[in-house]
Amino acid sequence: MRTARRWLEAGTVAASLALGAVVWEVAGRLTSGAFWAPLSTTLASLGTLAASGALVRYAASSLQLYATGLALGIAVGAPFGLLLARLPWLRVALEDYIMMLYATPMVALIPFILSMLGFGFTPKVLVVFLFAVFPVLYNTVEGARSIRPELVEVAHAFRSSEWQLWRDVMIPYTLPFAMTGVRQAIARGLVGMVAAEFFLSPSGLGQMIMLGSQNFDTANMLAAILVIVVLGVLLMDFGRWVERRFAPWRRASE
């Protein structure tokens, strides 16, 4: 019964994807090549790009930017979040700024970053970092602040030192919240990556899209978009896996 339902579901997904591919193909054939390329042409372009090594070069450039910005966002966001939860005065002092920046569409800051830092790798990393850091920071602070007081009391009753309290209670308790932030940062960082490649010095997959668009080479443009879509899906899955991996207890106890 259960396997039957699973087959039905897999069949529906496959049929939906196949239909989407057919619609793409037909739409591409019915319209001008300057607007829309059929799936077959897009895949052919993708094949050519892959064969020439250009795809790998562009993707590697993008991923380097993405990974650097994301890693910095996590490395700064999580410890700083814990620090804010630990020092109430610092949190009170900075909370409004954090909320403002968390709420701001980061794209709005890109022209400002451009005028401040110009072109190059560093300002682009800063953009990805800004996209990634706030979800991590925000979720870590909120997580650490939601610590159940009775668990802290247990630690005190067993004569825990401040450092042991952090090692045994605060950090393990906060970790799954921070991971929720990491999952969001993984998704937002990708947006930051493409935005930085569009608006700062063009590079990577973003540049591929821009070049395709400017040259009316729709097949190349769609090929680059397709790569980003696949990357996004894979990264989202990875994010969800990371989140689950660190909190087997959280789902069941809440």
């Binding site: 067993f158 045994d168 393990p172």
Partner: protein
């Protein structure tokens, strides 16, 4: 009392302008179980936390083994109504927690943890997480964590208050069995009259607003106590006596709250 291990002298606790209890005096012998009972809000749990050193008193003092309590100390362990297990630790890791903080070596932990897990009947569940086991089993784990540091003073904060009635009864007799194997100083806070009579050598009744020691009732029931104890005429007599003292107060407290 000559061999008193815990002495509470003229203890009072105030939260802001609210005086919870005042002038509470109490001495607990080294192999004695004192049950503290009283209506809701009388501060019995607060008193227990003050004895542990988790909360400072506003008046009076607590001494354990002759020295004033300023914070949680070595040789004193507490079992909590809410169990207080760490959800990200397995049963084994939770039981090892107190030992680890007490600085026990890996060899000592490897020897003691399975022994205390066996003592509370959790063998086979070492690698389960708290959310994977029942409330009764979680409290067995909490008990093992406290017992593992081999405390000279055991503080019980309504330990069976959050489990169902049948499990509660099973755990009461388990605790009696464990205590009989190694009698130690125990303060047992409860709001169950039966539990107070079954566990205690003496029952301290807290009463009044602010609360103070209204009556101390000696429980002259023989140990070891078992299920048969519940059927003894003396048990019934003592239970009625505590009931009489407490229920008049509970009724008054209930009406106070409504007003």
């Amino acid at each position: 009392m000559a061999d008193a291990r815990i002495v509470v002298k003229a203890a009072g606790k105030r939260f802001g302008s609210h005086q919870v209890f005042r002038n509470v005096g109490l001495a607990v012998g080294s192999r004695e179980v004192v049950a503290i009972i009283g209506p809701s809000g009388c501060g019995k749990t607060t008193l227990l936390r003050a004895i542990d050193g988790l909360l400072p008193l506003t008046e009076g003092e607590v001494t354990i083994e002759g020295t004033p309590v300023a914070g949680p100390r070595e040789g004193v362990a507490m079992v909590f109504q809410h169990f207080g297990l760490f959800p990200w630790k397995t049963v084994y890791q939770n039981v090892a927690y107190g030992l680890k903080l007490a600085g026990a070596s890996a060899a000592v932990i490897a020897e003691k943890v399975p022994r205390f897990i066996e003592l509370v009947g959790l063998t086979g569940f070492e690698h389960h997480y708290p959310y994977q086991i029942s409330g009764g089993m979680q409290q067995r784990c909490g008990l093992a964590r406290a017992l593992a540091i081999e405390p000279r003073v055991l503080l019980m904060d309504e330990p069976f208050g959050a489990v169902d009635a049948q499990t509660r009864e099973i755990l009461q007799f388990e605790l009696l069995r464990i205590w009989d194997m190694k009698p130690t100083t125990m303060v047992f806070v409860t709001h169950s009259i039966d539990e107070a009579v079954l566990m205690g050598d003496r029952i301290v009744v807290l009463k009044g607003r602010p609360a103070s020691v209204h009556e101390v009732i000696a429980v002259d029931l023989a140990r070891p106590r078992t299920r048969a104890t519940l059927a003894e005429p003396r048990f019934v007599e003592l239970r009625e006596r505590v009931w009489g003292t407490l229920m008049a107060e509970a009724r008054k407290a209930e009406f106070d709250v409504t007003q």
